[in-house]
Amino acid sequence: MADVIASPAVHTADHGHHADYLSDPEHKGIWSWMNTVDHKRLGVMYLWCVLAAFFVGGLFALLVRLELMHPGEDFMNAEQYNQAFTLHGAIMVFLFIIPSIPAALGNFILPLMLGAKDVAFPRLNLASFWVYVTGAIMAVTSIVVGGVDTGWTFYTPYSTSTGGAVTMMTMSVFVLGFSSIFTGINFVATVHKLRAPGMGWFQLPLFVWGIYATAIIQVLATPVLGITMVLLVMERAFNIGIFDAQIGGDPVLFQHFFWFYSHPAVYIMILPGMAIISEIIPTFSRRTIFGYRLIALSSVAIALIGFLVWGHHMFTSGESALAASIFSFLTFLVAIPSGIKVFNWIATMYKASISLDTPMLYATSFLLLFGIGGLTGIFLGALSVDIHLHDTYFVVAHFHYVMMGGTVIAFLGGLHYWWPKMFGRMYNESVGKIACGLVFIGFNMTFLTQFFMGSQGMPRRYYTYLDQFQPLHQFSTFGSWVLGAGLMIAAVNLMGALRGPKNAPANPWGGTTLEWQTQSPPITHNFVGQPSIEHNPYDYRNFKVPSDAV
């Protein structure tokens, strides 16, 4: 690496303490936040928004689980139940998970990791945020003015004939898509052009690789969702005859269009989670990551193969046997890069001196939960098994293990990992671990039961069920309370830390990537001077762990 050193790295310590981006005297007041082009401030604003969405979506989830305590109607009738799970799904997918890691943590961390002053297009970044807010307001409006009961997938012909605010909700998804595209364009251009001197593609931190692969999917898949939503609105408003079979349309065409985006969107959700895990594991194992290039390239492989598997959502919708077989094969194929990642992470941890701080606790939870979520995906990709399990709780449990057990757990791990960097404050480590434990236990109580129910034939999206499922349903609901309690404790712990003094050192975990080379929280322009690359990321043989690291 010696040949790529451009200039000696400039450490904050050599220059004394500078005003950080939160308390910069040149940028004060609400307005300085609302029209900021600073990627860090935008990341923080995105963070508050996605956390609010997570809270609202979580409340709907608790309501859904509560209704399922007993068969029959408890406090919601069938229509209200349909609305509750639709809003849970739509809010969690479009307002929380998709923007969570890229737009909130990615915005904050990615330019820092590259040693850049900002993203390539700061004003586009600001636009992305306000477009997101506009879309979120439209989504909330659709709840107020009539609700949506189609499920988050908006399948035709139901979505073209049902009442309620489906048009408003689908237009909200269209608008949110632009926010996602803007973020994606920004990140691809940033990674291509704003790397620090000497940082080649294979000196990029793996978080950057994951976010880069995600951004490619965001750019290439989201426009198709956009046009699909427009066509759906056109069909609802003007009966253009594309999706409605009564006037010569094809409802399955909608499913193809929808999943052409929404299956890659699954990788928009999980790749950033994997990106965070690739950072946490080497840092807390104090070890050079095993198989760097394979992890990096497997992100790109997932992004590319992920475009070719959408048909596995339609095995029961009338697909030709040949098409179904090809989609099934490609679905198995896309599992390989995920497996490569998991084995490389485990190999990194093998015989390492692991410190189980809160972020690492989340990362190990991720390995187990994502392992279950990924493997059950293989079951569902198998044609004959899927006919039995399609639209049952098995599917619900599978994607919650990936989305919540994978992405959300990684997001929480990332929050705990970068919280000291973002806000300059350490949270209570013991409380953080307890919260993680509760989340892990509560999550498994909630969703492991659903695998059993699904394999026994419990269909998804029903507000009532056969009596035989009641013990498992009740256990699942109790689990949702444990999960909710764990999340609340984590939130109180993190938020509570914000009231304390700025006590975080620049590099509390002994991380090797560039974001730890600047002070916590970073100065407005990120670095004093242009940082350069002295060693590969995760190269603990040549990296001196600072003495104030935990």
Binding site: V188, G241, I242, D250
Partner: protein
Amino acid sequence: MSQAHEASLTEHGGHGDDHAHDHHPFHQHHFATMEQQFDASKIGMWLFLATEILLFGGLFVGFGIMQSKHSAAFIAGHHHLDWQMGALNTCFLLISSFTMVMAVWAASNNRNGNKQGILVTNLLLTLGFAGGFMVVKYFEYSHKIHDGLLPGKFFHYTGPDLVPNMFVFFSFYFMMTGLHGFHVLGGMGAITYLIIRSLKGDYTSDYFTPVDLIGLYWHLVDLIWIYLFPLLYLIS
């Protein structure tokens, strides 16, 4: 394009450094060099164009599937389109692509204002051809509206050649040419912006990024029409 930037390649030091070297007025602080800024913008534009292709791609796929489903209706529908008007519009856009290229060439070779006139003239010509396209489109649309050849539930054509599901063809005709028309209007707005800034003398061989990027966008708008024209007007 990089040869056009040699004049302003200056190493931009970190924040707080004392940089006395010359600093281009349109150089944003987070880019080290003007060349880096240009390259980043260009990547951004290409990515945006990719999203545009995929946006239209959804309509093209939908059109293809519906055409195979209702082929008789689509053939009957296309007889109501005037291929001569479509061909005229194709010519307008092809010529406007040429004038746009000339504008980019003029901007990238504009030293001390020596290509200023060529730049502004070609931008005005491009705007003019785009306007001509919209005028032709206006006559085409009003003819369809008069005949009741409208999308979806507004379709009320009752002529002798009426075929079931003919409205689907006009749904796609209006959605595809309508979305394309909005892109032409957007392009006209962007070209107007370029003309205003060109008149101020903002674009020189050191900095002509907006001309280059909007030029790329304009070519895509033309290219989409090149596909729309045979697809809608010339099917058989």
